[in-house]
Assembly symmetry: C2
Homo-oligomer: 281 residues x 2
């Protein structure tokens, strides 16, 4: 990707801040304008070198920008992109970093004017530790970013967004928004519910007897409840279907335990191990 | 703890091998005899410096030993300790490293002669990567070891076992066997079932879209199915009770999702976060 004149980052937390840090380190943008709710966060992002300027309005952020990346919570993405697209004389290529894609892409296709240029993205690089303080220059290195074009998306825009993420070190997978949402319901959203339910079901007095297993199994339960309720509700049909598959799997364990059936139990454990081992460590 | 003349390690895998490495590095035992099913494993343990001699019989391992640590699968521990206790002219202090304690301690109290000296132990230092190749000299450093004396256990023996684990770098918590089994059902055994069910419920074609969340949530599902079916069945009453609490917690998530109730969802996520945050990172 050739160097960009100006990139605007809307929402400068873990993801937005890491994009800025990576753009600067790689010399990929001359100007990086940061916009967000809190002036203190923007000031901190500037101190850390994630943005070159902290701006007070979306209009100012977008003016003259080649690229705009919207890294705000799922519920906020659509209204902000509609506002960005309405800025006069601005025609940036817009993407987002939301963990759900179907409703965001559908709402934008319905409401954006024909001139606006948008491609949905989801960098699989979140963490239970959000915020600008945890931003890292290498957050996207070797990580997957899903881009979700539709039949209405301009193929040059898809290529440009793909190049953008690859320039930050990521691997890009392209798939339709609905396939994305079905898949991440299984690989991310339902596991979040399971981890959170597991943590909530643990009596705090038992914590001294936890070790690496409980620690890792529940790590993501430390994520931001507000961000996650938005993700889970936005993708709830798929999440409920993924949870049903999990509940079926769990009920087979329960039956084997109740029956004291060692062979069945060994087989169920082997099934889980086979899938887990397919991923690697 | 003053240096021991001879320690016997029965079962030289991750736990047994790490005990040997730590004893040697700290100069805590002159001789470390290793006994196990496979000659090749014992030979490897000797090469790695985890034992000083590989012996072919339990009798040979135990002869002249001050301490015997039995680090074999849960089902094997009781018959092996009964065999060790029956070796003529041997009066070692015996402990084990099993992940369950009630049935092991009860069976031994019922069947060991009055002269035998046994205190149950459970080092919370297991891993999905077992075997001598993963043994580490610092495996117990800062980790918790639970010792489970009963009213019939000699207090000097408890003190000696406690000193033994502390000398290896561990922190020791003492509690009755039944309290141990109830607690680790919640902190280790039920989470293992949940992680395994979560992995098994994941379509392998979705794996390219996994990130740190799924990876960590399912890590322990990579553990040995044979070892884990023994642990889960031995502690199944407690595991089923822990799973019931988890299922209740999960069903509250399901209800909130079905109702599209963002406030309830946020509250449930906050409950999980509060417990998880109480542990730290």
């Amino acid at each position: 990707m050739k160097s960009l004149e100006k990139v605007a980052i809307v929402g400068v937390g873990l993801i937005g801040g890491s994009i800025g840090l990576a753009l600067r380190e790689r010399g990929l943008a001359k100007e990086i304008a940061g916009f967000g709710r809190r002036a203190s966060t923007l000031e901190r992002a500037k101190q850390l070198g994630a943005i070159t300027s902290a701006v007070a309005t979306l209009t100012e952020a977008v003016a003259g920008a080649d690229f705009v990346v919207v890294c705000t919570p799922v519920e906020t993405i659509v209204p902000q992109i509609l506002e960005i697209a309405a800025v006069p004389n601005a025609r940036p290529l817009i993407t987002d970093a939301g963990s759900t894609k179907s409703s965001i892409v559908a709402q934008l296709e319905q409401n954006l004017s024909g001139h606006a240029r948008f491609v949905g993205s989801h960098p699989l690089a979140g963490s239970e530790r959000g915020g600008i303080e945890h931003a890292r220059v290498d957050l996207f290195q070797g990580r997957v970013v899903v881009v979700t074009p539709t039949s209405r998306t301009d193929s040059e825009d898809v290529a440009a967004i793909t190049d953008f993420w690859i320039a930050l070190g990521a691997r890009v997978i392209s798939m339709p928004p609905d396939a994305h949402d079905r898949t991440v319901a299984t690989t991310s959203h339902a596991p979040h519910v399971v981890a959170s339910a597991l943590a909530a079901a643990t009596d705090p007095t038992a914590l001294p007897l936890t070790a690496g297993g409980w620690r890792d199994s529940t790590r993501i339960a430390g994520g931001d409840p507000e961000l996650w309720q938005q993700i889970l509700l936005d993708n709830r049909t798929n999440v409920l279907q993924s949870l049903s598959r999990f509940e079926t799997s769990l009920s087979r364990f329960r039956s084997a335990l109740e029956a004291g059936d060692s062979a069945a139990l060994r087989e169920l454990l082997q099934e889980g191990k086979t899938t887990r081992d397919a991923l690697g460590s």
